[in-house]
Amino acid sequence: MTIAAILSRLERAETTAVALLEEVQARVAAAGAQAPVARLEWDRAFDQARAADRARQEGAAGPLCGVPLAHKDMFDRAGSVVGFGAHPDAQRRAERTAEVLARLDAAGAVDFGRLQMSEFAMGPTGQNHHHGMPVNPAVPGGVPGGSSSGSGVAVAMGLVPAALGSDTGGSIRIPAACTGVVGFKPSPGLVPRAGAMPLSWTQDVVGPLAASVDCARRVLSVLSAGRTRATSQPPGRLRLAFDDSSLTEGVSARMRAALADLRQQLRAQGHEVVVLDMGWLAHLAEPANVIAISEAATVHADRLRAAPDSYGPEVRARLCQAAGIPAQAYLRARQIRQIAITRAKAEIFAAADLVILPGLADVAPQAAALAGAKGAEIATMIAGMTGLTRPASLLGLPVLTLPVAQTADGPLSVQIMGQRGAEDLIADLAQHLETARRSDLHRGTDPA
């Protein structure tokens, strides 16, 4: 159910926040081990739900009043235990509440708990050495994607209309693409990170995974304290860039077909489709990785040295990569980032308002195909899953991941990215496309 539908039921007094939370509680119980939860906090959530019902009766309902939500297990809430998807020894009780949770609380949202994630937000598949891998409801046998694995699965299962995630190299966008939901990675600095687990100061952002574009932008508007619009506007006539280069040459035939259908649809809507050679973006993958690993190894320095074997082998392997990164390489990577930001403005955003790239090369990979990766193979596997998402992380671009086609094996998604601060324009186009696709699905004319 979407946020708009939930609010409509509440406004018409067809239900209450408490009754909605009871429905969610029943669905979580029915899902059993399939529910991608790390820790449930029903007592506090019912207190929030009762407060939401009172606020609505008093005419003081906030924009998310009574809407049940849950979040990646990496955000502080005073008095709650935060797990980080890590070994139980890493758990700690938070003394403060993350600014993003405080903003959702103030908007009236009902936060019932913590969702599974990759260990310390490191890992694009969703596999977790300590806690297993959430089941992807959209792709049988497929990975759920990570690191915001539980957030994507919870939305795809219909447990929540939206859930918070974080994104350093694709950790909102990859699970969104794997599970066929919307993921919205905002510009760095738009959403506060205070009280959120750090991984890479240069590239970390917090944003929503959601059941629809409308759900995502309503949540983002609250997270950004109103700096982005919660409502859509016609996007106008846009110049939309697609890639024709080595960056995307490895995508599947069906992804290629979905992109062709999308270009045709956009032209029919009056947009100008621009085809650019963006192959140079592929040269950003290693600088993005070097910055992320160097900063992550610094975040984890004390714990890693004190208890290296409390980390799962995949995460320990990635942190070990830092031993192969001299300080000069980190600084060179930062220089490459500055050069690339300038080049993106001059070459891409001078020619186009927004860029559309595949979310993944194909549908979510099968878990069995990735399970055997060990040691240095892990770096190759990670590079394969993040090659299309890392450039926007390094460039600091806002990106929305949108499902655009459904195949027999799962959903196919694209990334819509724009310049820093283009969240509203991105969401306007995405919402327009989503509405058109739902109309096609309703008429049975979805191209996929």
Binding site: G324, I348, G375, A379, G396
Partner: protein
């Protein structure tokens, strides 16, 4: 390389951990020091690029 890994982990590395660090060092050579985006720019401009300048994105 063993010293760098030991500084990270607080113990001697395993052979697999050595292989990971060596693999990353090779990736750094290819993807950072030989990155075409560095080669394409005038050296003077590159030398003056502040790695921490302009925190904004594109």
């Amino acid at each position: 390389m063993d010293q760098e890994i030991a500084a990270l982990l607080g113990r001697a590395p395993t052979e697999e951990e050595r292989a990971i660090a060596r693999d990353q060092r090779a990736r750094v050579e290819r993807g950072i020091f030989a990155n075409p985006l560095l080669a394409g720019g005038p050296q003077a401009a590159l030398a003056s690029t502040d790695p921490f300048g302009g925190e904004g994105g594109a």
